[in-house]
Amino acid sequence: MWRRASLYIYALVAVVYLTLPFAWVTAVSFMPEREVTQQRWWPEEPTMGNYNLYFQVDGRSADVGAAIARQFPRAIVNSLIIGTAVMLLNLTCGSLAAYALARLPFRGNLLLLLFYLGSRSVPGVAIMIPMYLLMRSYGLLDTHLSVILSHTTFTLPFTIWILKGYFQTVPLDLERAARVDGCTPLGALVRVFLPVTTPGLVAVGIFAFIASWGEFLFALLFTTTIASRPVTVLASDFAQELQVPFTVIAAGGVLVILLPLVLSFLFQRLIIQGIGGSVTG
């Protein structure tokens, strides 16, 4: 009996640890400005005012930051476009490379693995400026593509590593059967292999999407107008130079988090299976 009880206490501690910081921010986002300074955990007079600021499309509000807040819907669309493209690029390039690494023995495969790992260990600040110049010379600045490409480069190595591990867990018999039936290696990959590995693919896809959604440095550097600017950059506009009340920042934070949160809840099972499976195979 006491073992049950202690298990639930243990679970409660874990839940509190995982949710408390975010729960507080959510609570603050419903507080009127003057309540913030009182170190409250719960809004005494809850208000939607902080959120309304982000969805006022009418005219020019006198509130500081309203100009930025009004661009939010557009920025969310930008983030969606960028995130989806990053996900697709990761899945195509990643699954091809990972399949080769997992299944087809060839010289230099260790070298490739190290190359992928190495490209992930470079700090972003190191390549920011050269990458900026590169994007400029391609004429890609302030386009979705520049952000998509940069996000793909830092998510891809991870995708390949995880997928390679995941692919190795799939029994060889499946493809062997397909090959016996006369499939080419590529045919075996597309028709037999990929359907079986859906959990892994979904997991890395969501992973890449969320990483792209949350990335900031490159997105900030490469975009200048709302034509391409994603939502994290917009959110930081509030915080950095404007003296916007923390309640409004909190509301913006909650809005930015909403989609990744829903995605991770929906695909929770697949993510845990997919990512987890890859390292235990």
Binding site: R4, L7, A11, A14, V15, L18, P21, F22, Q39, L89, C93, L96, A97, A100, L101, R103, L104, P105, F106, R107, G108, N109, L114, L117, G118, S121, V122, P123, G124, A126, I127, I129, P130, M131, T152, T153, L156, P157, P185, L186, W213, F216, A235, S236, A239, I249, A250, V256, I257, L261, L263, S264, Q268, I271, I272, Q273, I275, G276, V279, G281
Partner: protein
């Protein structure tokens, strides 16, 4: 671990196909990472300060020599090592604790599992802002810390003055705590999967032998998790050395130089001093350090025969 022996599936002569399959990824990474890295290495061999555009010249390894001779570098390296070590350690311990919990069956486990992903889903910038709020003067966590210090003072008759983020000790460790919080879910997912892969017969046998739960953890669970722990350690070491966004938002490097981690130092070289030569040399040093650590980890993996070539 399934040991694959695919050699009879494919013949060795067909190296072209796997290389072809890797081509899109390699091209992307070469063009957008390897190339900038090459350029930045070339820059790191130059005196190249934007404030002196007419004095750009090659001077070999001078930037590296200057950095290695500066006390700022060693101070930053030391802080980064502490930061990374603590972060890796805490992530492993906390993620392991939660993974062990999620392995048990109890009502509401699905909910806990879903909540596990919250910290991970939060973008870095938002995470920074959130902790600024939590630990700031009006933050709920700040109030909690202040209260617990007051309780400790009362219980032990001490007179510790709590100064919040103005204390170098609190600032550095709070930054680590915030960094760890966001990193736990990923590690936890990996641990959970690894735990679930442990054959249950082993536990049964151990129970029959009368092993305590600690011994079961120590002699069965841990060895099985060796691989997972190393994978987490690799990724977390890299993340620890690169920690920047959070420091930028949360402490701005202060108080004093308590949170001058190495990525922050690099950023200051590049954007505060506009010394692109020095900044690129800094980034190279970070890359070399993280790569060295990564190679050590990978060698450990290989030695245990846990990765197939």
């Amino acid at each position: 671990m399934t040991v694959l022996n695919p050699s009879h599936l494919m013949s060795r002569t067909r190296d072209a196909l796997p290389l072809l399959l890797n081509l899109p990824a390699v091209i992307l990474l070469l063009a957008f990472i390897a190339y900038p890295i090459g350029i930045s290495f070339w820059m790191s061999l130059h005196r190249y300060n934007l404030r002196r555009p007419d004095q750009v010249y090659f001077h070999g390894l001078d930037n590296y020599a200057t950095i290695l001779a500066s006390s700022e570098f060693w101070n930053a390296l030391w802080i980064s090592l502490y930061f990374t070590f603590m972060a890796v350690l805490l992530v492993i311990v906390i993620a392991m604790a939660i993974a062990l919990l999620l392995h048990e069956s109890f009502r509401g486990r699905g909910v806990v599992r879903a909540l596990l992903l919250i910290p991970w889903a939060i973008p870095g910038v938002v995470n920074g802002l959130m902790w600024v709020g939590l630990l700031g003067d009006y933050g709920a966590f700040n109030a909690m810390l202040a209260d617990s210090v007051a309780v400790v003072n009362y219980l032990f008759g001490l007179d510790i003055v709590y100064t919040g983020m103005a204390s170098p000790f609190v600032a550095l460790n709070a930054a680590i705590g915030a960094h760890v919080w966001r990193s736990v879910p990923f590690a936890c997912i990996i641990f959970l999967a690894a735990i679930q892969a442990i054959p249950t017969e082993q536990y049964r046998a151990a129970r029959v032998d009368g092993a305590t739960s600690w011994n079961r953890f120590r002699f069965i669970t841990l060895p099985w998790l060796y691989h997972a722990v190393l994978v987490v350690a690799i990724f977390e070491t890299m993340n620890g050395f690169r920690a920047f966004d959070l420091i930028y938002a949360l402490t701005g490097g202060g108080p004093g130089d308590a949170t001058h981690v190495i990525a922050w130092q690099t950023y200051k070289e590049a954007f505060a001093r506009l010394d692109f030569g020095g900044a690129n040399a800094y980034s190279y040093l970070i890359t070399v350090i993280t790569m060295t650590l990564a190679v050590i980890y990978i060698r450990l993996l290989y030695r245990r025969g846990l990765v197939q070539g």
